[in-house]
């Protein structure tokens, strides 16, 4: 018997984007408020896990054709690269730089290199979580 999952499918189309956008919000909130790459990454993965629940692995693969191993590796490279900036400037490893910039629409914004590092963390967390979930959940 085919299960009727119309409600699940319909709501997931909306809920996926809510979770995803919220994860980006949490990720960006990270520097001064609770949040950051790790939590943001986990939330994003949970949004994708919702899709995996509603559809199957193949559909989600088609929807988001991402190689999560490479995603993890790029995240690591980005994080290490950001941490090494200090080494090339004659400062200790992991030295943190920031400054104020005037961005159109947003106005005066403080930009940190910690943000780049966190992006790396974000990519690693999403990559690793989904690799684990796919290899446990994917039976072939």
């Amino acid at each position: 018997m085919k299960t009727n999952d119309v409600i699940l499918k319909t709501t997931s189309h909306v809920v996926f984007f809510i979770i995803f956008l919220f994860s980006i919000h949490v990720f960006l909130a990270g520097h001064f408020a609770p949040g950051g790459g790790f939590v943001g990454g986990l939330l994003t993965s949970s949004a994708i896990v919702l899709l995996l629940l509603v559809y199957d692995i193949k559909t989600v693969q088609k929807l988001l054709p991402i190689n999560y191993t490479i995603m993890t590796a790029s995240g690591l490279v980005l994080a290490l690269g950001t941490a090494s900036i200090g080494m090339f400037m004659g400062k200790p490893f992991f030295k943190h730089y920031f400054d104020h910039f005037y961005l159109p629409l947003i106005g005066d914004t403080e930009l940190h290199t910690a943000m780049l590092f966190d992006t790396g963390v974000y990519l690693v967390v999403v990559g690793v979580t989904l690799t684990i979930i796919q290899s446990i959940g994917g039976d072939d």
Binding site: V77, L80, G90, F93, H96
Partner: protein, 497 residues
């Protein structure tokens, strides 16, 4: 802040970076091999340069993120750490070289080399860090990678043993964090130099001694001291030989290093209790190792039990806490890392040639593989410490240190254990190389045989140089022994910039 003090991070960062690169194309075996070899050779060069830098300029210190010292995470490369880092990258290099022939394509295309590189990152980080919590983090890095390496391949024995291995390590890691929290609640700092100074200030009250024993349990589980070695022999026997060589040569030594560091830097004010305990445990460790080394007919098991004996010998040296014994312990530690890897490589070739790891089914290899036999004999003599080979000086200094500290029986026990060690490895020689052939040899491809044999020979020759050239190595070891014996050298380097 000295310029270029970031240099000490290179032996940690380079393997890490190459491990990441290898993750981009896990199925391209050529890329994997070349990437791993290149990364590790660059790391070896960096580690050699670092060693001489430390020799000439004294301990190198860098604190992450430009934070002031007791607050930021400090990385300290003193002579002890520089020597260990160099040895670990050299061993990783040879293991990768040996693996190309020995490990098989399935594993190579499933993150085997990234696993090794990340493990080296963790090992070097653990040797270098000057922050006790960061030590935990690096322990986790190397353990994660070792979980991958021990289970990779998914043979029945591997799956069974990896559960045991993971369980033991998860429990000891949990205990590690708890112990660090205890220590933090007493001294209020995580910076190792700062902890050393603070403990000296409060003259090590009872609670600190309790924490010292807890640390001994935590690191003892990893270093396999008596009675916490129970998990080691069967777990290490499960993965293939190159992984076993890497584990046997590096992982237990990280535990030994951690005990050495904490027992020479922190807990030096109640030696009547802590170091006495360490000495008793190390003597019992040697006893347990000796029994195991003689009891088995499995070549892997014999060498694995020899790891346990060596751990006991090194820690006995540490427990004596004088210049000679500490220099000897450093000498012996490096010797043991090199020789154990060489022996595992040799045993791996013997197993590949005969197709069995049971001594009783081997024999007569001397006729067909004379070179293998002679190199095995050299390595075996080196392990037992026959002069002028590599194990001799270290053991001599440890025993002399033991006599100086007035521990006659312990020192005699070390000497006696050398005979047992010699007997246990010569048994392999007698069974495997003498006598008649006991069965058809495995057809091993000539090219593959050479690929395994060449790194092995070079490593054995390296250990011979380590013994014969000890005159030249001694100044480095004395520096290392000196820094272990005088915590103020370490703390001054970190705290007074």
């Amino acid at each position: 802040m000295k310029m270029m003090s970031n240099f000490l991070l290179l032996p940690i960062i380079i393997p890490f970076f190459f491990g990441m690169l290898l993750m981009f194309a896990p199925k391209n075996i050529r890329f994997q091999r070349i990437g791993a070899m290149t990364g590790l050779s660059i790391a070896v060069v960096a580690a050699i340069v670092l060693l001489f830098k430390v020799k000439n300029e004294g301990p190198q210190v860098v604190t992450f993120g430009d934070w002031p010292v007791p607050f930021g995470i400090t990385m300290v490369s003193d002579m002890v750490s520089a020597l260990l880092v160099l040895t670990s990258v050299i061993l990783a290099f040879f293991t990768v070289w040996y693996s190309i022939a020995a490990i098989g394509k399935e594993r190579e295309s499933f993150f085997y080399y990234p696993g090794i590189l990340f493990m080296v990152t963790g090992v070097n980080g653990a040797f270098t860090t000057g922050d006790i919590f960061n030590l935990f983090v690096f322990f986790e890095v190397l353990l994660m990678s070792s979980y991958l390496l021990i289970v990779l391949g998914g043979e029945k024995a591997q799956l069974r043993e990896s559960i045991k291995y993971i369980l033991v390590n998860v429990i000891s890691s949990a205990l590690f964090v708890i112990t660090v929290a205890y220590l933090y609640s007493v001294v209020g700092t995580l910076n190792m130099a700062d902890i050393s100074v603070k403990i000296a200030d409060i003259q090590q009250p009872g609670i600190i001694t309790v924490i010292a024993v807890l640390f001994l349990i935590v690191f003892g589980l990893k270093a396999a001291i008596f009675p916490l070695f129970f998990w080691l022999p069967s777990s290490y026997a499960a993965p293939p030989i190159p992984v076993l060589a890497l584990f046997g040569a590096l992982l237990t030594k990280v535990g030994v290093y951690a005990i050495t560091r904490t027992y020479t830097l922190f807990f030096v004010h109640d030696m009547g209790f802590t170091h006495e305990l360490l000495m008793i445990l190390s003597v019992l460790t040697i006893l347990a190792g000796c029994i195991g080394a003689l009891a088995y007919f499995d070549v892997k098991k014999i060498i694995i039990y020899n790891i346990i004996i060596a751990v006991g010998v090194i820690l006995f040296g540490v427990s004596q806490m004088n210049d000679n014994s500490l220099t000897g312990a450093m000498f012996y530690l490096i010797h043991d890392m090199l020789i154990k890897a060489a022996l595992f490589f040799l045993v791996g070739i013997i197993i590949a040639v005969t197709g069995t790891s049971d001594l009783r089914k081997m024999g007569g290899l001397m006729k067909t593989h004379p070179a293998l036999g002679w190199f095995y004999l050299i390595a075996a003599f080196g392990l037992a410490g026959i002069p002028p080979l590599s194990g001799f000086i270290g053991k001599l200094l440890i025993v002399r240190g033991g006599f100086e500290a007035g521990n006659l029986w312990g020192s005699l026990w070390i000497l006696l254990s050398s005979l047992v060690v010699l007997l246990s490895v010569i048994r392999i020689f007698i069974y495997a190389f003498w006598g008649k052939e006991k069965g058809p040899l495995q057809p091993v491809d000539k090219g593959y045989y050479r690929m395994m044999f060449i790194p092995t020979i070079i490593l054995v020759v390296l250990t011979v140089f380590y013994g014969v050239g000890s005159e030249w190595i001694t100044p480095f070891m004395q520096d290392a022994g000196n820094i272990l014996n005088n915590p103020s050298v370490y703390t001054d380097a970190v705290l007074k910039e």
